[in-house]
Subunit: 233 residues, 2 copies
């Protein structure tokens, strides 16, 4: 069901994972995973997007050094984020590959955790997308938006996300308003970081998983996909 | 399709409007209108709830003095709100009548504008509801919650609602958190008060109407109704 795709960011080889709909595709969705890179959880989301009629392509943050446990993933993420311009270039490699694979479709980017931050970085960077959606993503940025943002923005946020205090929520709204972005924000009381993930990186149950927030936020995404890429009648 | 129902709050006669599903009902929903009292817009929402398998009962705020234009409606609303305890009693009359009409079902209350404030007032007052949903409702209250709140809470809010500044959004979150309420908050950038209403009270087009916010917020409501009152398999 999921096809391995090799691509590259300059000299860095990357490995993505592609899911295709059974019928004609209505949109191409880049899916950016958590700091753990591709996991079964994010593959399940890409399969759900394929069910919904989208080509879904899980991007690779790291290349050959892709981490396999939480400690190495944290180090890899911090390394990636240490150079925000290089990070945006890395993210754009996934969009470029997806546009090659599925040309001519409305393009969307979604992401979880670091992936949520990533899709907002792409929006801030001027990527030509119809929609971006962040799920428990980081909202702060080293390079705040200074130019109009093309994609519509959906942010799905756990109100007690320990990585994203309310001050950053307000700062995000203000940053987005300064450039006239079209955003929707869903916040869930008592819900912590990682609410879409059933499992922790070590495979144990994730206490932050929140079935309602997961389902409501996914429904909001599907509703907006229907707007930017209507399903066939 | 909509049945006129006479009821009362003490000596004040009230007139509600009832919509029933074609099959077996899964929930009873009290629908509180805007300060204009029952309008075709709110009747359409109650019919949509009946389509979704709910008994929907549009409550009456005012009784025989129900206003027919924006000026008299404003005066009537201010009169109702001048006594917050009496207002809560008035709102509870609708819940009581609905429980008589459709006993034994999970009870839900939704509302728009003054009706959005109303369902939050009922939640703060300890009403035994499974879910309340406010659409462009006022979030401030003369009687903040001091006891645990039973219903789940959905608030759908236009971020530039001229009646609800961000300071009141934050104050609402803090009020709800103090009593451990289970809330979800959807906010829509650039969307003003009244975003579910196609028409102004005078019948002219409402510039604040926002099709996406209307649709996404309604979908969020239906998602939560599915959780508190699952549809038949």
């Amino acid at each position: 069901m999921i096809e391995r795709i090799e691509y590259a960011d300059g000299a860095t080889p990357l490995t993505g994972w592609l899911a295709r709909p059974s019928g004609e595709a209505r949109a191409a969705v880049a899916v950016f995973p958590t700091y753990m890179n591709t996991t079964p959880a994010v593959e399940a989301k890409s399969l759900a997007l394929a069910e919904a009629g989208c080509v879904a392509f899980v991007g690779d943050f790291y290349g050959p050094d892709s981490p396999h446990d939480a400690d190495t993933a944290l180090a890899a993420m911090l390394s990636l984020r240490a150079d925000p311009v290089a990070m945006r270039k890395r993210l754009r490699a996934t969009l470029t590959k997806l546009a090659d694979i599925a040309p001519g479709l409305p393009m969307i980017a979604i992401g979880f955790c670091l992936g949520g931050m990533s899709v907002l970085e792409l929006a801030r960077d001027g990527a030509d997308l119809a929609l971006v959606a962040s799920f428990h993503g980081l909202l702060a940025t080293p390079l705040p938006a200074t130019a109009p943002i093309a994609p519509r923005i959906l942010v799905c946020h756990g109100d007690v996300d320990w990585l994203v205090p309310r001050t950053e929520v307000l700062a995000f709204w203000e940053e987005m308003d300064r450039v006239g972005a079209d955003w929707q924000f869903m916040s869930f009381a008592g819900v912590d970081h990682g609410f879409t993930n059933l499992l922790n990186p070590d495979g144990s149950a994730n206490p932050a998983y929140h079935a309602t927030a997961d389902r409501q936020s996914w429904a909001a995404l599907l509703g907006l996909i229907d707007e930017v890429a209507p399903p066939p009648l």
